[in-house]
């Protein structure tokens, strides 16, 4: 018997709000018994420990949560997962933003969407962390995908647009990180290939470990948000005929994507990975307009989306306009992208990777 205890909450509505159901189905389809537990429910503690008791006889059991929720579940003698020797995976849906430390929880395997971040974190920030690189999962809203020409929205942009000046003000108010963040921005503006992680460690003098670990996260978050907002506002100014939409929940988010011919991806902060928008637009047969990175190149994805590089946004606008003249020509790309997403980026594929990692963790008695 194999089992998974999946911890979720319905409190917050956003584009990831149904993700736990998708993982529950996928893990269940792989022969695992899944126990779904709402960690905000009043009887959670009882149900959790009951599920733990039932699963202790199973050799292959793991816990799955999202955004590091419940990783720090402690009793008086220490962390629950370390005491009962049960691996806990937590899928961090966003890059860095909700990245808690919890390095002392030995059984914790954090699932991050950027491999570069995984490697940098191990190298510079948390050498004793356990990390699984899990690309953003491609979720599909419907089995039958409409033809591109039948989709009502021409170009969709899903996401919030932040004011770069406000973001910068946030770190300017904090003397501890102000100079560091300014230096990081300089580094990133001079070299597009660097990540905020790289910039943080380059700003360290002489050793990045001189900085408090807790300092790295706000710096990286602020600078990522700043760079993203600068690039996004520049991009949005260049692209004509945009529908801008902030997702309310997963269903609406995926429906909007499936109703769009082209989905405009936010400029990539990820150095080795893809955004959720990109994965989901591919899964739903929409044409994604995105920058390339090492992940898209290594996976030979660059003919599966409208790609652009070097922040050449006006050229992208021309590409989009040209594509929309004869949208039926995009159907072949749409079909290839959805097949690729299904075979390589689906929740089912990610569930397999988590199960594989949980078995290896068991084998090695992590």
């Amino acid at each position: 018997m194999r089992s998974c205890i999946l911890l979720y909450s319905n409190l917050e509505k956003n584009k990831f709000s149904d993700l736990y159901l998708d993982y529950s189905k996928a893990i269940g389809s792989l022969g695992y018994h899944v126990t779904l537990l709402d960690y905000l429910a009043t009887d959670f503690d009882n149900n959790f420990f009951k599920a733990i008791d039932e699963s202790t006889s199973h050799k292959n059991t793991f816990v799955l949560s999202f955004d590091s929720n419940l990783v720090d579940l402690n009793v008086s003698s220490g962390n629950v997962y370390d005491i009962i020797e049960l691996p806990i995976f937590s899928i961090l849906t966003l890059q860095v933003d909700n990245y808690e430390l919890y390095e002392d929880v030995k059984k914790y395997i954090r699932c991050v969407i950027d491999k570069h971040e995984a490697i940098s974190t191990k190298k510079h920030l948390m050498p004793r962390a356990n990390i699984l690189f899990l690309p953003s999962a491609a979720r599909r809203i419907t089995a039958e995908l409409p033809k591109i020409e039948n989709r009502p929205i021409d170009v969709l942009f899903c996401g919030e647009i932040f004011d770069a000046t406000n973001v910068r003000m946030a770190w300017k108010d904090n003397p501890e990180i102000s100079v560091l963040c300014d230096n990081m921005v300089e580094i990133l503006l001079s070299d597009e290939n660097k990540s905020a992680f790289d910039a943080f460690y380059e700003s360290g003098d002489p050793s990045p470990f001189q900085y408090d670990k807790m300092l790295a996260l706000p710096c990286i978050n602020y600078v990522n948000a700043y760079m993203q907002s600068v690039k996004t506002s520049k991009l949005l100014k260049e692209i004509s005929g945009l529908t801008v939409y902030t997702p309310y929940d997963a269903k609406e988010y995926l429906s909007m994507i499936a109703s769009s011919k082209i989905v405009l991806n936010t400029p990539l902060n990820l150095k080795y990975g893809i955004t959720d928008e990109m994965a989901c637009s591919m899964a739903n047969g929409s044409i994604c307009a995105s920058e390339t990175n090492e992940f898209t190149k290594d996976n030979q994805m660059d003919n599966l989306f409208l790609n652009y590089s070097n922040s050449n946004y006006s050229l992208l606008n021309e590409k989009i306009k040209e594509a929309l003249i004869s949208p039926q020509n995009l159907n072949a790309m749409s079909e290839s992208a959805s097949v690729f997403a299904e075979n390589n980026l689906s929740v089912l594929q990610n569930a397999k990777k988590i199960i594989e990692a949980s078995e290896i963790a068991r084998l090695l008695n992590l």
Partner: protein
């Protein structure tokens, strides 16, 4: 014998086969002006030490960590209390000594015969410890003349174990976790595809291909898994080596366990029993060729190689960059690659049929070994390590 400048204390090994090595070290330290006091790690260990300890005692020496974690009644390590270092050289892979290594103090210096073992210990056992490279060396009875080609009545000998691949495979196949079995198989495939890659590197590479980055010091079962996989690979490689040679009608004399012989038994393999102590040297002196197979050694000499050479046998071996620093294929040894045995049998037949070629190669090997890989060289390198550590 009255000219000793300093003292050292040697702790006797528990394994009988290691006694000659222990005695050889004692003699070598004395040649280097250290009076060697011998003690045994028994209930009188501390009183034995008290009897020989004085202000000139500079270090302890042990093989395989015997006595290296000895404590006083207050649980303090003896060596910490005395402020005297202990050198421990290990004859096997570090996964066999995890407890000893993890309990090491700053006064313990651990010597491994393969550079790769030091990297392994740092990564998976204890990063912050005193490690040094201390590869194997050869031993022989120096009072005896090296026998001639004609005096050697055995053509080819192999002395060692043949781990049963079936048994070691069953250890990871019976765990009922398909992804884990696949993980082990991928490591094995990687190791089999190249003689160059080390087991820890293959392990890390397969983990990384799964985008999994784990805390190496928290992997409690990593040592037993590595041990299982290394036994499996060693077994497969040695069986393949025997097969490739006996299929070409070469006769091999096998010294080892009977259960191991059963894994390689055919009409061209003769079982010669289990060798102990000095009988081992006698067998080397009776053989023209000794086979060595150390597929997971990445920067090391294996004791079999220099000891065979000092006893005048021709060494047929897999190789590694450390070995290549000293011995050249066709000049000093006959080397082979585990993925290509195609010329090996012919090379062995040629040397068995040519006294001149045999003498040329074995004389070269003997000279190189005498000049570089005897107990005197290793004893000197131990003193160098202690000096570098400020202990001498």
């Amino acid at each position: 014998m009255g000219d000793f400048l300093k003292n050292c204390i040697l702790i006797e090994p528990k394994i009988l086969n290691l006694i000659p090595w222990h005695k050889a070290y004692a003699k070598a330290f004395e040649k280097l002006s250290f009076k060697a006091h011998l003690v045994t790690n028994d209930e009188n260990f501390i009183s034995q030490i008290e009897n020989v300890l004085d202000n000139d005692t500079k270090f302890f020496f042990t093989i395989d960590g015997v006595g290296s974690t000895a404590k006083l009644q207050n649980s303090e390590l003896i060596y910490d209390y005395l402020n005297i270092p202990i050198i421990s050289t290990y004859t096997d892979h570090p996964e066999q000594y995890t407890r000893l290594i993890s309990e090491s103090s700053n006064y313990v210096y651990s010597g491994f015969f393969d550079e790769g073992d030091i990297a392994y210990s740092k990564k998976y056992i204890l990063n912050d410890a005193n490690y040094f490279f201390h590869t194997d060396f050869g031993l022989c009875d120096e009072s005896l003349r090296v026998p001639t080609f004609e005096e050697r009545d055995l053509d080819i000998m192999f002395c060692g174990t043949i781990p049963d691949p079936g048994y070691f495979r069953s250890l990871f196949e019976n765990i009922n976790m398909p992804y884990s079995i696949n993980f082990c198989n991928e490591i094995i495939e990687m190791l089999k595809s190249s003689d160059q890659i080390s087991l820890p590197d293959a392990f890390e590479s397969v983990l990384s291909s799964k985008n999994l980055f784990l805390d190496s010091l928290s992997l409690k079962n990593v040592h037993s898994l590595m041990s299982t996989l290394s036994h499996y690979i060693r077994g497969c490689r040695r069986i393949d080596l025997f097969k490739s040679l006996t299929e070409q009608n070469l006769k091999i004399n096998f010294f080892g366990f009977e259960k191991d012989y059963n894994l390689i038994a055919n009409e061209n393999v003769t079982y010669c029993g289990f060798l102990r102590g000095e009988n081992y040297w006698d067998a080397l002196r009776r053989s023209k060729i000794t086979l060595n197979s150390s597929p997971l050694s990445k920067y090391a000499l294996s004791e079999r190689q220099p000891t065979s050479m000092l006893n005048g046998a021709l060494v047929v071996t897999d190789t590694n960059p450390y070995m290549d620093l000293y011995y050249k294929d066709g000049r000093d040894v006959i080397s082979y690659n585990h993925n290509d045995y195609s010329h090996l049998a012919d090379n062995l037949k040629e040397v068995l049929n040519s006294k001149a070629l045999f003498e040329k190669i074995t004389n070269n090997a003997l000279l190189i070994t005498k000049n570089n890989h005897t107990v005197n060289h290793r004893a000197q390198s131990i003193l160098d390590v202690l000096r570098q550590g400020g202990a001498l």
